[in-house]
């Protein structure tokens, strides 16, 4: 892929983009969380990524790209709280070890797989439980297949993954929640879009936009 400096710059650019996006979507995500949760997902994500933006700006100039990604995770853990804090933060932190030797097509697949595994492990949600897992799983599957089987360039693979995540987000609407606060609503959760799946899609969209630049 690109050299270390380009990789570092890409991580920083992605962080900026995601932070902008979360702040812009704060009200919308909170709106989604009001319907089936406790009206804080937007505030949680915006607070978390604004903190990440600051931390990354202060990061050591010779930190590896993988270290930067780890910082993203650690910062989210200590700033977000709630369910999304450990799920996003903990999983990014733990998956970041896959990027120790730099960000390549292969290592990005490994990162994605490790990240998905950690989210499922931490949260215990299976597919169809109406959580972020529903957006994440098709995205990771699609990305892996596009790179490893179809030999597509990472940018195209990522575009397909975003597309898959979007289907996952839409898929959460008609489901009954089985995990997260939405599960307390029982059948009343049907017909609403999952906030965490939605923020997962937004992050991926920003990763794609960063890659396209």
């Amino acid at each position: 892929m690109a050299d270390r400096e380009t990789q570092r710059a890409a991580v920083i650019a992605a962080v900026e983009r995601v932070a902008d996006r979360m702040t812009a979507e704060k009200t919308y995500l909170t709106e989604l969380d009001s319907a089936i949760g406790d009206a804080d997902h937007g505030a949680n994500m915006a607070r978390g990524f604004e903190a990440v933006r600051e931390k990354i700006a202060d990061a050591d100039a010779d930190a590896d790209p993988g270290d930067l990604v780890k910082t993203v995770g650690v910062t989210l853990i200590s700033e977000v709280g709630g369910a999304s804090g450990p799920l996003y933060g903990g999983s990014i932190m733990s998956a970041s070890t896959e990027l120790a030797d730099g960000i390549t097509a292969e290592s990005s697949v490994a990162f994605a797989e490790a990240y998905l595994a950690k989210v499922k492990d931490r949260g215990g949600a299976e597919l169809g439980a109406k959580t972020m897992v529903d957006a994440l799983t098709p995205a990771v599957h699609t990305y892996k297949k596009s790179i490893e089987t179809d030999d597509l360039p990472p940018l195209e693979a990522l575009a397909k993954a975003v597309d898959a995540a979007e289907r996952g987000v839409n898929y959460t609407v008609p489901l009954r929640a089985q995990k997260g606060r939405a599960s307390y609503l029982g059948w009343r959760s049907v017909g609403h879009q999952d906030p965490g799946a939605t923020s997962t899609l937004f992050i991926m969209e920003e990763l794609l936009a960063t890659a396209e630049e």
Binding site: A35, A39, I77, G81, S84, P86, S183
Partner: protein, 331 residues
């Protein structure tokens, strides 16, 4: 939205400072953390009892810090569980070498963050145990849900565990009595109105002038069912019946009851509910050993209440009657 706040993002921080300013002899804030502990924490020779979760439930959690109850409480953002590093700092500050019991309410966020914190503190050689309170009978407890929520019954767990720890019991014993409460308590809540979080500034859910929500939790999440307005007696009948169905107690059983206000309910109305609740206890052949009425575990400014019933034996009665000296509860 009108609130007695400055910036929405500063509410938790300023609330904690305001608490310390009210109880400077009792409470201490951990530097750089949204954690309050007893001013004399860790208390030598005593198991530490800690709790925590999102803010917005005041006097829960920090209001119960003091002799005979909690040693520390972590305050997350409004309705957002605290981060693992804050919980870890709290656990370490409350460990006097006898170990720490974490009283966790069953929300995925709380459980995940406490799990991580327990691991972190464990690495520093703190003996950490956890109990998970899940007293909300409105939520089906099955493999296909995230399980019952922890709500107002948590206060009884704090009280009993705190009293046992104050006696000098070891961590295993303290955990055992906490679990005894958890096994014997049930709660169900309802809302007349939604609460308004400072960040959102509007009601989390819209309720018509003729509607109420049954089976709400304590985070402003909508309930399990929306119905037409009912009278206080009808609401009390409904909540109590669900709790009693779940507990399935024998006639003659002694119980402690709680009518808990959600924050915006006048105390007069809670007593109207208690009147009916005690009639029902009597009709079911249950003996009320103690009846609590007040705001113990709130949802900001929500109007509504929850009803808790806990079956008690001699051991629990003694622990509930043991002295406690905290801002929000004195026995």
């Amino acid at each position: 939205m009108k609130k007695l706040i400055n910036e929405p993002g500063d509410v938790v921080d300023e609330m904690l400072d305001g608490m310390v300013a009210a109880y400077p002899d009792r409470l201490r804030r951990l530097d750089g953390n949204e954690v309050l502990v007893r001013s004399d924490a860790p208390v030598a020779g005593k198991v530490g009892i800690v709790s925590g979760g999102g803010s917005g439930h005041e006097p829960t959690h920090a209001g119960y810090i003091g002799d005979g109850m909690l040693d520390g409480a972590a305050a997350g953002e409004i309705f957002t569980s605290p981060t693992a590093d804050q919980l870890d700092a709290m656990i370490q500050a409350c460990d006097a070498g006898e170990g720490v019991l974490c009283v966790v309410k069953n929300y995925e966020g709380d459980v995940m963050n406490f799990d991580t914190a327990g691991e972190m503190a464990g690495m520093e050689d703190v003996d950490v145990e956890q109990v998970v309170v899940n007293d909300d009978v409105a939520v089906e407890d099955s493999l296909y849900t995230s399980g019952r929520r922890g709500v107002c019954g948590t206060i009884l767990v704090h009280k009993v565990a705190g009293a046992k720890a104050a006696e000098g019991a070891d961590l295993a014993e303290v955990k055992r009595v906490a679990e005894k409460v958890i096994d014997n308590v049930g709660t169900m809540g309802m809302a007349l109105t939604s609460c308004v979080t400072p960040e959102k500034g509007e009601p989390t859910f819209d309720l018509g002038e003729d509607e109420i929500e049954l089976g709400i939790g304590i985070h402003g999440e909508p309930g399990t069912e929306r119905t037409d307005v009912m009278s206080a007696d009808e609401i009390t009948d409904h909540l109590t019946q669900n709790v009693l169905d779940d507990l399935d107690l024998d006639a003659g059983q002694e119980v402690v009851t709680i009518v808990n206000g959600m924050g915006g309910t006048p105390l007069s109305e809670l007593f109207v509910v208690n009147r009916r609740l005690q009639q029902l206890m009597h009709d079911h052949g249950l003996e009320t050993y103690d009846a609590w009425v007040g705001d113990y575990m709130t949802s900001l400014d929500m109007m509504g209440c929850s009803i808790t019933v806990c079956a008690v034996d001699d051991e629990l009665k003694d622990l509930l009657d043991a002295p406690a000296d905290t801002p929000a509860l004195k026995v």
